[in-house]
């Protein structure tokens, strides 16, 4: 009896610990742009729900206002019931808090997801929007035709030179993932535009791991493809890898204040697996402390 009580107490203690809010190390500066990034999440399985729960806990301490969804938002069946199970139920508490989702299409998505109001795509396969001093460019990397590339070039040119420019799409241009790896051909058409127009940060999914790549030609690349799916042990760290995590699911949270971008990557169990600060390249160093 005593042994059973002890085991139960140990279990509850462990459960309580696992539910305790993780430490938020983002600065939470007034007026900052705050968002989370998730990818390859739409499985409808327990792990997706646990990440969603972890995001909610994080949100209570760090109220991010939107989420960028990096594709493979809905795996498998696309019926209304499946969509509910794979999106509306797990993220309901965040949606209820007013958090908006800005999605891109992955290779497992139905292109008609662009008509789904909660994904904020307004019927477009690729689109852009601005939050504070940050321009976001959401691309369809399944289909980078000349029309999309011309659109991107025009949008990047119009975004000027003083703000942050962040691109996101499904397939990573640089990746140490063993399953897919870097998308060389997509890189050949996108990277010249990123360099020409000063894109500073790129987010992608597709590889079911987390990886932050060392800056490539001055651009920071993140892969977050483990917010539902996971290929445990699939990250074969290379010279590209700054930090990688392939042991469990994760999500990214980002804060941008002025010329500084702060990021924190949190695992399903609430462990911070990566964090840091990126100074906007070309930004003038302030004399202020």
């Amino acid at each position: 009896m005593r042994r059973r009580t002890f085991l139960l107490a140990a279990f509850l203690n462990r459960y309580a610990l696992s539910l305790r809010a993780q430490d938020v190390i983002l600065p939470g500066k007034p007026g900052s742009v705050r968002f989370a990034a998730i990818g390859d999440m739409g499985t409808g399985e327990a792990a997706q729900y646990q990440i969603a729960q972890r995001m909610l806990q994080f949100h209570q301490q760090f109220p991010f206002t939107f989420v960028i969804a990096l594709g493979d938002n809905i795996y498998g069946g696309k019926s209304p019931a499946e969509l509910q199970k794979k999106f509306e139920i797990p993220y309901k508490p965040l949606l209820d808090e007013g958090v908006q989702f800005y999605a891109v299409l992955g290779n497992h998505d139905d292109s008609n997801e662009r008509f789904y109001k909660f994904f904020n795509m307004n019927g477009q396969q690729y689109y852009s929007y601005k939050k504070g001093n940050v321009h976001f460019f959401a691309l369809d990397s399944n289909y980078l035709d000349p029309k999309q590339l011309a659109w991107l070039e025009k949008e990047l040119a119009n975004a000027g030179t003083t703000d942050w420019k962040i691109c996101y799409f499904h397939h990573p241009l640089y990746s140490s993932g063993a399953f897919h790896g870097s998308s060389i051909e997509l890189r050949a058409v996108l990277e010249p535009l990123f360099l020409k127009y000063g894109v500073q940060v790129v987010f992608a999914g597709h590889e079911h791991v987390y990886e932050r790549v060392k800056p490539q030609k001055g651009i920071y690349y993140f892969t977050e493809g483990a917010s539902g799916e996971l290929r445990a042990g699939n990250l074969k760290k290379t010279d590209l890898t700054a930090v990688g995590y392939d042991k469990d699911r994760s999500f990214l949270s980002v804060e941008i204040s002025g010329d500084d971008l702060y990021f924190q990557t949190v695992s399903r169990t609430g462990v911070t697996v990566d964090s840091g600060t990126i100074r906007r390249p070309g930004a003038v160093q302030s004399d202020q402390p």
Partner: protein, 186 residues
């Protein structure tokens, strides 16, 4: 003489190499080929027909998206009840598509093009039927951008797809297979 040959070599090398590096086509623009012109004419006719039908619109109701998609697909099937493979990819167009696809796969970017398909979840061969739905559970294989640069640009209602070795024209709203060229992908 030696210097002149060297300069000529560099000019030729740069002239041939740069277009590939930035993914520009080495051939004349796709719109100039008679096969492609015929294809585009047929594709535009299809789009005109599709645009006359009820379209999808942004909504919070997933049921509405599903129902409207089904209704649109059904309407297309009824309107094109006699559609056959080759109606849009006419024989002349198919020859041109096959030629361009082959040249991209055999060209300097061929290795990367194959890699793009491999990385983008290649779909195994299937028995395709014109007017049928693109299967719901099937992922979308990335269409290599180097290839897209060499093909006629489609109106937004249509997209090229790769299913196994077949090259497919898909209505992306109705998710209907509009036409296909069997075995066009090496």
């Amino acid at each position: 003489m030696f210097l002149r040959t060297g300069v000529l070599f560099i000019v030729l090398f740069v002239g041939l190499r740069i277009p590939m590096a930035v993914g520009r086509p080495a051939d004349p623009p796709a719109s100039e080929s008679p096969g492609f012109r015929e294809f585009m004419q047929r594709a535009q006719e299809y789009v005109k027909l599709q645009k006359a039908m009820p379209r999808l619109r942004t909504t919070k109701k997933r049921e509405e998206i599903v129902e409207r998609r089904r209704a649109l697909a059904q309407k297309i099937r009824e309107t094109r009840s006699n559609a056959q493979p080759g109606d849009i990819f006419t024989p002349a167009a198919s020859d041109e598509f096959r030629r361009v696809i082959r040249s991209v796969f055999q060209g300097p970017a061929g290795r990367d093009v194959r890699r793009t398909i491999r990385q983008g979840a290649p779909v195994p061969d299937r028995h395709l039927i014109v007017n049928s739905d693109y299967p719901e559970h099937l992922p979308v294989t990335t269409v290599p951008p180097t290839l897209l640069l060499r093909l006629p640009q489609l109106p937004p209602e249509l997209a090229y797809r790769i299913i196994g070795h077949d090259f497919v024209l898909q209505d992306i709203q109705a998710r209907v297979i509009v036409d296909f060229i069997p075995g066009a992908i090496p």
